[in-house]
């Protein structure tokens, strides 16, 4: 551990005491946290054993993030305390938590993009040469040593901005380990990385577990819970519900604990009469990204798009909608070939596109719900001589939001203040207002809690019922299998198969997707 000695920041408390007076590395005891008008956490607890992965489960708004931020020293609890190895901690800043041995890997990675991997890891703790200047060679050597222990293959001198999300996460993990942390908090670490990267991440997490680190792992994905977590705690509406071994429960048990009721129909698939071909795609190619994509979608049909992240699924959707038009190939709607050079053309052809990334390409964060709903419909409707028919538009928008059960006090609420699920519903309302005949949904339920998920699934089925042709891209196989009439599988920019609902199962799809 030369790197640790160079750092010189290993606090006494961070080494696990030989005769541990507590069987838990981290304890949260009776913590309460209020924000103006809301009790975010009400007398909650959490006990994490060293050398285990402890998952935090709960719907959005359950209080997971608040709890996490208290553990990481970002918020201070109103009541109760956080204990490390049985000793109460008073954390006033994230830095104090870090130095005490609690590291957090944020969902939005907090690295400096213009600096190198090594500089990011050792910032504030840079090794100095005899002139008192930063010793880059030593720093790179320390980084490589750290990477070797963690089985990470990265060049310490490359800039963070050039790395993939998964690799940035590796750097964050390495940084956390370099502090000799006893507790590592990971907030939905797999939400933006590919399946192979997930496998690698899990390997690293298992390695950390063997080193005796207690890992708090926040996730929405059930499969991950069973794959990586030893124990889990469930939260609901700011309350602590229960802690169990992950081998003791079933998926349904957990959902019941999370929502406080039975979710009977996760995927309310209905038999819908399938109509004529609405969208027909022939040999669509975007050089270097995808090639020879051909498929049809019929009225009332839900065509699922499966494949690993990076297989080109979203790129095909973006090409169809004119965000990045394809180089070659044809798109026909109701039998007529159409030219779609930009999203405006696509909208006029009756297409709608719910993008993958709500924050980046979906929401107008500073604007209110009304303004978020109206942006796509104003091309053709509710406009008279350039003037917007405010009253009519407001009524129709509110109706749509009510129908989709957007939870908000009023339409003037800034969308930034809504939960992920409600933001997604607002964006869906935006597109439904245009009355599309072709609806492209890219990860429609990503990062959304179970209840809202089921609502969105019901809604998609309803739309199919009304004869809308739906393309649904999703990384969650159960969702694709549960919702689709047919599943189109992509790998490396090509279609590797189109499977009917009856033949589609996890194994078939994964085989096609991974080739």
């Amino acid at each position: 551990m030369t790197s640790a000695s160079v750092v010189g920041l290993v606090s006494e408390s961070s080494a696990i005491p030989a005769s541990s007076q507590s069987e838990y590395v981290l304890e949260v005891v009776n913590v309460r946290k209020e924000f103006p008008g809301v009790v975010a956490l009400d007398d909650v607890q959490l006990k994490v054993r060293p050398g285990t992965v402890h998952a935090l489960m709960g719907e959005n708004g359950a209080g997971k993030s608040t709890l996490m931020k208290i553990i990481a020293g970002i918020y201070q609890p109103d009541q109760g305390e956080v204990r490390l190895h049985g000793k109460p901690l008073k954390l006033e800043t994230p830095l104090m938590a870090q130095e005490a041995g609690i590291a957090m890997i944020h969902q939005e990675l907090l690295l400096m993009n213009q600096m190198t991997v090594a500089e990011n890891i050792w910032i504030r703790r840079e090794p100095k040469n005899s002139f008192g200047l930063v010793d880059h060679d030593e720093m790179n050597r320390m980084t490589l040593e750290l990477f070797e222990r963690l089985n990470i293959q990265l060049d310490p001198e490359v800039e963070i901005g050039e790395l993939t999300v998964a690799n940035r996460q590796m750097v964050e993990i390495a940084k956390a380990v370099s502090f000799n942390s006893d507790v590592l908090i990971m907030d939905e670490p797999t939400s933006a990385i590919t399946e192979t990267e997930v496998a690698h991440l899990f390997e690293i997490i298992r390695g950390l577990r063997e080193r005796g680190i207690g890992i708090v792992y926040i996730t929405h994905k059930m499969n991950e819970l069973f794959e990586i977590a030893d124990e889990f705690s469930v939260f609901r509406d700011g309350q602590y519900i229960a802690t169990h071994l992950s081998t003791d429960v079933t998926r349904d048990d957990i959902i019941r604990m999370m929502v406080g009721r039975d979710v009977t129909q996760m995927f309310p698939k209905e038999e819908v009469e399938i109509g004529d071909v609405v969208l027909s795609v022939k040999d669509l190619t975007l050089d270097g990204v995808f090639s020879d994509i051909s498929f049809d979608v019929r009225a009332g049909e839900i065509l699922g798009f499966a494949g690993l992240v990076g297989s080109g699924r979203s790129n095909v959707a973006e090409a169809l909608f004119g965000v990045t038009p394809a180089d070659r190939g044809s798109i026909s709607i109701l039998g007529e070939e159409v030219k779609i050079a930009n999203p405006h053309d696509a909208i006029l052809q009756g297409m709608a596109f719910l993008t993958e990334d709500r924050k980046e390409t979906g929401c107008f964060l500073p604007l209110d719900i009304q303004e978020n709903v109206q942006s796509a419909v104003l091309h053709e409707n509710f406009v008279n001589g350039g003037f917007v028919s405010e009253a009519e538009l407001a009524v129709k928008s509110e109706e749509m939001c009510k129908k989709l059960r957007v939870k908000t006090p009023n339409m003037e609420e800034t969308i930034e203040n809504l939960s992920g699920g409600n933001q997604q519903k607002v964006l869906i309302a935006r597109w439904l207002l245009t009355h599309p005949r072709i609806l492209i949904l890219d990860e429609p339920t990503r990062g959304i809690d179970v209840g809202a998920k089921a609502e969105i699934h019901t809604l998609i089925t309803q739309l199919a019922h009304k004869g809308v042709a739906v393309i649904m891209i999703s990384s969650e196989l159960p969702e694709v299998l549960g919702m689709s009439d047919r599943v189109l599988v992509m790998h490396d920019g090509r279609i590797t198969g189109i499977v009917d609902r009856e033949q589609a199962d996890q194994v078939t799809i994964m085989n096609l997707a991974a080739q």
Partner: protein, 349 residues
Amino acid sequence: MTTTTSSPSVAGNEPQAPKVTKKKLPAEVSIFLVLLGISVLFEVLGWFLVGQSFLANMSRLQIIILQVSVIGIIAVGVTQVIITGGIDLSSGSVVAMSAMIAATFAQSSDWPKIIHPSLVDLPFIIPIVVGLLVGALAGFINGWLITKTKIPPFIATLGMMVSARGVARWYTDGSPVSGFTDSFALLGNGLDRWMPVVVFLFVAAFFHVVMRYTRFGKFTYAIGANPQAARVSGINIDAHLIKVYMIAGLLAGLAAMVAIARIKTAQAGMGLMYELDAIAAAVIGGVSLSGGRGRITGTVIGALILGVMLSGFTFLRIDAYYQDIIKGAIIVAAVVVDMHRQNKRKKTT
């Protein structure tokens, strides 16, 4: 939909703490209160320090609002640019360029120093149209550079700021242009000298309506709030941005016409730092430099605050150096307040 009746939705989350839904006051109201506060402060200080009223003086109020008019017209355009998430540093120079070129079409034949001897005593509409076109052309070049070459608005308009000033000097070799026709001069002195104010208020009202009630305005906000989402919503961002920069240029041209008609001469050095005053008016008026947020009414009040301060300092016989120092501090303070407001919004979740 049989399943929706027993839909698993809301039940679990319903007992949420009732959100306080009191209507927030629009930012303009608080800015207006600041304007009132400053006016009252000067009034009180006036009685104590100078022994006279600050507000009960019609000619002072007229001067304030006349001075505000030119900056105000520019600020209405700059506000729209800032709402798209951009910036326009070229307004002051574009004022000079439009003024110099248009002025040469506004001369009367009985003036000794004529630039284009064949173009005298033209109807007043000709120089006005020329001025507006020159401004709009500068704006078009700004917008074109920003959208087609993808350079940041700061750089594109910085370039225009330098070049337009050069054109203004080159056009008449640096000599000022005077001797306007009476009809042209009315633009600055008509309606019993209130014409600039009338133009300003008309422009402000017109674009207030555009920004709030037309598709064009709504798209402007959308682009500033999130250009990528705007694109996916089918908005032609490039075309829209070019139009917005053209409006900003056009209004700079209009401001130039009003200014030279009022002071009866055009000089290549005029309009210096106007762009900064216009940006300051917008920012003081609550227009967010990060885009997507702000209103024309805010900018109008912001411009009035600047005008009242300037006049008030002169009234209190505060040295011009101090005036600039305080003005700078106020601009910074306005942005600090804006940031504070934005952070507070985010924390309400």
